[in-house]
């Protein structure tokens, strides 16, 4: 593993001009743009519902939180082999069968890209519960007097949420957004386990970590280009995190 010649920034330029690497960056940006707000909204919604309910509150909390304890690999395999298998006995196709719809090979088709449905639902199931708990903790710290004052002023429903709950959750929201973003950028487990077959991976839906895994650790063993790609990726995540922190903190000052 002794380097034979100094290539300067050659490996970085190679990676940046590699269309497969660039398309992997697009893939993961698209994935992040979709999954971050979706998880945010769903877990906030779940937290509000669970916080309001008066019956079986701890039951609902546990039920939504439980998937967090499940391994990404295990969930991926269940999603791939039993829920979204391409045959009639798969759960999704079984349901379609009741309405007389033909079986859909979810993971085999590239067009339309049904595999996104599989990947996104798996991730939502796995992570919504965790962020719900974070929001729940935030909601419980909001002083009830604020709500009482709002009620006296005649505010209810959406207005209470918009002007009291949401602003009071700013600290929690910032943390959740940051965690979600980092999580999205770390996308590997469910992609790899759902889409790879025998060490090969289709040329689409390939986030950078999956692509780098095949470049650097695959039989190619191209550590130089792999490391260059990893550094580029780290820089992107750092920049996005800093920018995001700035934006949300600026909002703080305005208050």
């Amino acid at each position: 593993m002794t380097p034979t010649k100094f290539v300067g920034v050659g490996n970085y330029l190679d990676m940046l001009s590699d269309p497969a690497f660039r398309s992997s960056l697009v893939t993961f940006l698209a994935f992040a743009v979709f999954i971050v707000p979706t998880t945010f909204v769903i877990s906030l919604g779940a937290a509000l519902l669970v916080a309001r309910t008066r019956v079986m509150q701890s039951f609902f909390r546990s039920v939504f939180f439980l998937p967090t304890a499940c391994s990404y690999v295990v969930a991926s395999l269940i999603w791939k082999m039993s829920i979204f298998s391409g045959i009639r006995s798969g759960l999704a196709n079984g349901v379609l069968g009741w309405f007389g719809v033909d079986s859909i090979p979810w993971l085999s088709l590239a067009d339309p890209p049904w595999y996104w449905l599989v990947i996104v639902t798996a991730r939502l199931w796995l992570q919504v519960g965790f962020y719900m708990i974070l929001f729940l903790a935030g909601i419980q710290r909001i002083s009830p007097t604020l709500y009482e004052a709002a009620a006296i002023d005649g505010a209810e429903g959406w207005k209470v949420f918009r002007h009291i709950t949401l602003p009071q959750l700013r600290a929690t929201s910032t943390a959740v957004l940051l965690l979600l973003l980092i999580n999205a950028f770390q996308a590997f487990d469910e992609f790899y386990n759902i889409l790879s077959t025998f060490g090969t991976y289709p040329p689409y839906a390939r986030p950078p970590l999956v692509y780098l895994y095949y470049t650097a650790l695959g039989s190619g063993q191209d550590f130089g280009h792999g490391s260059a790609g990893a550094v580029i990726l780290t820089l992107i995540i750092a920049i996005v995190a800093v920018v995001q922190g700035r934006i949300l903190r600026l909002g703080d000052r305005g208050e």
Partner: protein, 441 residues
């Protein structure tokens, strides 16, 4: 199809019971790790044994690595063979997980094995990097007894770098009763195959199963051979820049469009369950599934090679083998070579036992095939004959992982997205030409 895949195909493919076994194997690995940690060595390599310490007498300790085979008893078998070796102490390591990658990486370090198996022999980069030792003289005059296309796959510039252990193959398996009912003869050309698949597709039963990706990963090579072409020409140039290749690869898309391919089966092509549970009438799969097929279908199945495109093409079956290699970083290369010769060339009874007692494979020495009771009759005998007659090593040694990735991506786009085969082949050529230049330099 990339080289490393064969390994997975052979081992992982045996897969139905893998889960429980891999748990055992992981437990075993943990125990081994514990033992090593207790030795106070972080390199994974035992301190060189001296004098009377080792049981092997001569004092040499060899580390031998295997990937984790799926069949019960395999690990005990290789440990038994190793224990019987008198001239050195052989420590067998059973490696679950990503064997090819971790082995390739360990060869760069001092913690690697002395003797290790690798799918279809070492890669061209290992050979050119001087990481593996020339084993030509071990094979000597037994050369003619090995499956020729596999031995050639492990040979570079006249030197052989691995000794084939057992041969595995893939082939087309069909349900006799389903074909009879539909009044179809076993297909002999690709067009007959497509016609048959169309006729056999009824309700929830599909005509043909080539893997959940519609054959994109599996059928590239067989399709080229079917057109009478290959990955590379005889003089190691790009081999399928040819309109016939575009036609052949386009046939897979034709099957996809006709909706006769089974897609999204819970277990992929390496498992017999799609065929035995009646999801498909024909399936391209491995020889290792025969015990399961027999259990599920009795005698209701027949075997075929992947058919020729037309009269100027050729039928074929992909064959592959794990090859036993010697690391150039071994502390005692001569002792390691001696052990490889002893086990994989001289001990023919052990080789026969390894090939036939646990899973379902073909011995790599042709002279042993007639002694294998499992291959004497029926479909298994037909299959063994196909492997010898039309067997085709999965991909040439110069077809590097980079080429394989480019080809795999192209196949995906052709089959799944309906991309123009000729254009995709040109893209593969653009990657393969500089790669070939690099490895031939």
């Amino acid at each position: 199809m990339s080289d490393k895949q064969i390994g997975r195909e052979i081992g992982q493919a045996l897969g139905a019971n893998l889960t429980r076994r891999s748990l055992f194997a992981l437990g075993g690995a943990a125990a081994v790790t514990g033992a090593l940690a207790a030795c106070g060595s972080n390199t994974g390599r035992e301190p060189a044994a001296t004098g009377g310490g080792a049981s092997g007498g001569s004092g040499v300790t060899l580390n031998q690595w295997y990937h984790q085979y799926g069949e019960a008893g395999t690990q005990q078998a290789v440990e038994k063979y190793a224990a019987a070796y008198k001239d050195a102490t052989v420590k067998v390591s059973w490696k679950p997980g990503d064997y090819d990658q971790s082995t390739a990486a360990s060869l760069l370090t001092d913690a690697g094995p002395d003797v290790f198996e690798y799918g279809n022999g070492p890669t061209i980069d290992m050979i050119k990097g001087g990481q593996v030792v020339d084993l030509t003289d071990l094979i000597g005059d037994t050369k003619s007894d090995f499956n020729p296309s596999i031995l050639e796959r492990m040979t570079y510039q006249g030197k052989t770098y691995a000794v084939p252990q057992v041969v595995d193959m893939q082939l087309l398996v069909y349900r006799k009763s389903m074909l009879d009912k539909a009044g179809i003869q076993p297909p002999q050309t690709i067009d007959e195959l497509i016609a048959a698949a169309k006729k056999l597709t009824q309700g929830n039963v599909k005509g043909l199963f080539l893997g959940n990706d519609g054959g994109a990963g599996l059928m590239g090579g067989p399709m080229l051979w079917s057109a009478g072409l290959d990955y590379l020409t005889k003089d190691n140039q790009f081999g399928f820049d040819d309109p016939r290749a575009a036609t052949a690869l386009g046939k897979l898309r034709e099957m996809w469009d006709a909706k006769v391919l089974l897609l999204g089966a819970p277990k992929d092509w390496f498992d017999a369950s799609a065929l035995t549970s009646g999801l498909t009438a024909m399936q391209f799969t491995g020889l290792w599934t025969f015990p399961d097929i027999k259990k599920g279908l009795g005698d209701d199945f027949g075997v075929l090679p992947w058919p020729a495109l037309d009269s100027s093409g050729k039928a074929s079956v992909p064959v592959g083998a794990y090859g036993s290699c010697v690391s150039a970083k071994s502390k005692d290369v001569e002792a390691a070579k001696k052990f490889v010769k002893w086990l994989w060339i001289d001990q023919t009874q052990d080789q026969l036992d390894f090939a036939t007692s646990y899973g379902f494979h073909i011995p790599s020495r042709t002279s042993l095939i007639s002694q294998a009771s499992t291959l004497k009759s029926g479909q298994a005998a037909d299959a063994a004959k196909l492997a010898t007659d039309v067997g085709h090593a999965q991909s040439p040694i110069l077809w590097t992982p980079k080429c394989a990735t480019a080809f795999g991506d192209a196949m995906n786009r052709i089959v799944k997205e309906g991309a123009d085969p000729a254009g995709e082949i040109a893209k593969v050529k653009a990657v393969a030409d500089p790669e070939l230049k690099r490895v031939l330099a």
